[in-house]
């Protein structure tokens, strides 16, 4: 039997594309994001 998920709550949530999912663990992209996130977090420390 087919499982049809329309009108269920999880039908409305945005789902990442395969590309987006792969980039989350792509070493090179994530190394770049590591630098960006660190910059953003260190920038936050100036507010206290």
């Amino acid at each position: 039997m087919k499982v049809i998920k329309t009108y269920e709550k999880d039908f409305y949530a945005p789902m990442p594309t395969e590309f987006t999912t792969k980039m989350r663990t792509n070493i090179f992209w994530q190394f770049y994001r590591f630098l960006v996130i660190n910059y953003k977090m260190i920038r936050m420390t100036r507010f206290h």
Binding site: K9, D10, Y12, A13, P14, M15, P16, T21, M23, R24, T25, N26, I27, W29, Q30, F31, R33, F34, I37, N38, K40, M41, I42, R43, M44, T45, F47, H48
Partner: protein, 485 residues
């Protein structure tokens, strides 16, 4: 010579102790009173709870560290505060009861010139029938609880390996819980562990919480710029849940936990139940229940503490509706207004109100998260209060010099969603300010340029590195002051 006494040696207490020692004069004495012999990096307890770390990885003995730093350590629990001293002496003191094996039960009076209350919370499992590791649910609030949770989880995993289907329920165990982030991390790490054990298809994972929507986290959620839109964290969080096949129940107050069934009431007033084989539910928090007495031995607990046993500080505690809340209601200096030499930091201070909008079911049951004040803000409060006190000692003033209001403070947070050097992920978030300010930022309450969130392996690397960095810092190793809170 001045004496600074700190109750509690968690993130806020330990930070306050280290900075108090560092900024005070040589002749001043810093005393830490904590019932626990070990310091615990609580954010990593979720990894103990899934077997990825051991208790030894997230703790260390406090006594040798404090001895090295010149801090007096008393392994004891505080019982009462006497801010006016007694009939023969005007100096304030605290009554403590030792918890270490050699002096267990011994009572002592410890006088102070300045007192920092950093006791953290009482884990109030008693608020919900059947809640807690001694009863029918598990917890990751302490490393001991996390070990027990992992042991039970491994039993469930073994059953799944034998082909048995398991229902796993994770979230908050009461309508007024906080720290949804810790439960969020736990459900995502359990899901990760199940995948690694090849049994993900044998488990039904369900989230249950008192949040109005997923992604509230007790801070009313937050808006972030993403893909050309400004979106609420609800969208982002729901996406993460659906992607991993996690079901969710929100707007719920857990009424009772039985051996394999949980009963809850939701904001619509419906009473429902859900079955489980394994459940980890966070308890609500309250203050640790310290009493206070004046010089004549009359109880003045209500002068120092709010009804929830958290300590009153320089916040605006007048009763206001959600629409009347101001970010300026939140404390600036964490100084008690009746006794200017007493401060409270971290979870120990009484917040003026929640951050998330208060909600009640038709039966009058409050179902909304109470405000989180752990981690980075706790450390900052500990540091700034220590600096205020050491300034006050030098100048003789009763006015604190350093502010650390959560309404003008930003926060960075990493929520683990699976630990693996190359396949782990974590949600990295920053927000400014922590307390939404709808006067300054009318639409979203926060500065969108400083508020962001994303998930990826980089977040896991940062979370993992921070584990070691903060353990290093908490031990007072060389250059510890260069590491931010």
């Amino acid at each position: 010579m001045a004496k600074i006494v700190i109750l509690g040696a968690g993130i806020a207490g330990n930070t306050a102790a280290m900075y108090s020692r560092s900024f005070s004069r040589k002749e001043d004495e810093v005393i830490v009173i904590s019932p626990n012999s070990k310091w615990n990096w609580i954010p990593s307890n979720i990894w103990v709870g899934v077997g990825l770390m051991s208790p030894e990885d997230v703790t260390f003995e406090l006594a040798p560290i404090y001895q090295k730093m010149g801090i007096t350590f008393k392994q004891a629990k505080a019982v009462s505060i006497h801010p006016e001293g007694n009939a023969s002496n005007d100096k304030g003191y605290v009554t403590i009861e030792y918890t270490n094996s050699s002096k267990s039960g011994t009572v002592e009076e410890v006088s102070y010139d300045f007192l920092i209350n950093a006791t953290g919370p009482k884990l109030n499992f008693g608020a919900t029938e059947g809640l807690g590791p001694d009863k029918n649910s598990f917890s990751v609030c302490t490393y001991g609880h996390a070990v027990e949770a992992n042991n039970a989880l491994q039993v469930s995993i073994e059953r799944m390996k034998k082909g048995e289907r398991q229902k796993i329920l994770i979230g908050t165990g009461h309508g007024n819980c906080t720290c949804q982030g810790a439960a969020f991390e736990y459900i995502f790490n359990v899901e990760y562990i199940l995948k690694h054990n090849g049994v993900r298809d044998k488990a039904d994972l369900t989230w249950i919480s008192n949040e109005y929507e997923l992604g509230d986290f007790g801070i009313g959620g937050m808006h972030i710029k993403r893909g050309g839109y400004i979106t609420h964290s609800k969208i982002f969080t729901e996406s993460l849940f659906v992607e991993r096949g996690l079901d969710w129940i929100t707007r719920s107050h857990v009424q009772m936990v039985e051996k394999d069934r949980l009963f809850y009431e939701n904001l619509e007033g419906e009473e429902k139940s859900v079955d489980f084989d394994f459940t980890m539910l966070l308890p609500p928090f309250s203050g640790v229940g310290l009493k206070a007495f004046n010089k004549n031995k009359e109880e003045i607990t209500s002068n120092l503490f709010a009804p929830n046993s958290f300590m009153k500080v320089d916040a605006d505690y007048s009763v206001k509706s959600y629409e009347e809340w101001k970010s300026s209601d939140w404390p600036t200096y964490y100084q008690n207004q009746s006794y200017k030499n007493i401060f409270a930091v971290g979870i120990a201070f009484a917040p003026p109100h929640a951050i998330s909008k208060p909600m009640k079911s038709p039966k009058g049951t409050p179902i909304f998260p109470t405000p989180p004040r752990t981690g980075m803000p706790s450390g900052v409060m500990g540091r700034e209060v220590a600096r205020s006190i050491t300034d006050m000692i030098r100048t003789g003033s009763d006015k604190p010099t350093r502010s650390a209001s959560m309404s003008s403070m930003g926060a960075a947070c990493i929520a683990s969603a699976g630990a693996g050097l190359f396949d782990g992920t974590a949600v990295s978030m920053t927000m400014f300010p922590i307390i939404p300010d709808y006067d300054k930022y009318p639409t979203y309450g926060r500065d969108i340029n400083y508020t962001f969130g994303e998930i990826g392996l980089a977040g896991h690397w940062i979370k993992h590195i921070l584990h070691y960095v903060f353990m290093y810092k908490a031990k007072g190793n060389p250059f510890w002051k260069m590491i931010p809170e």
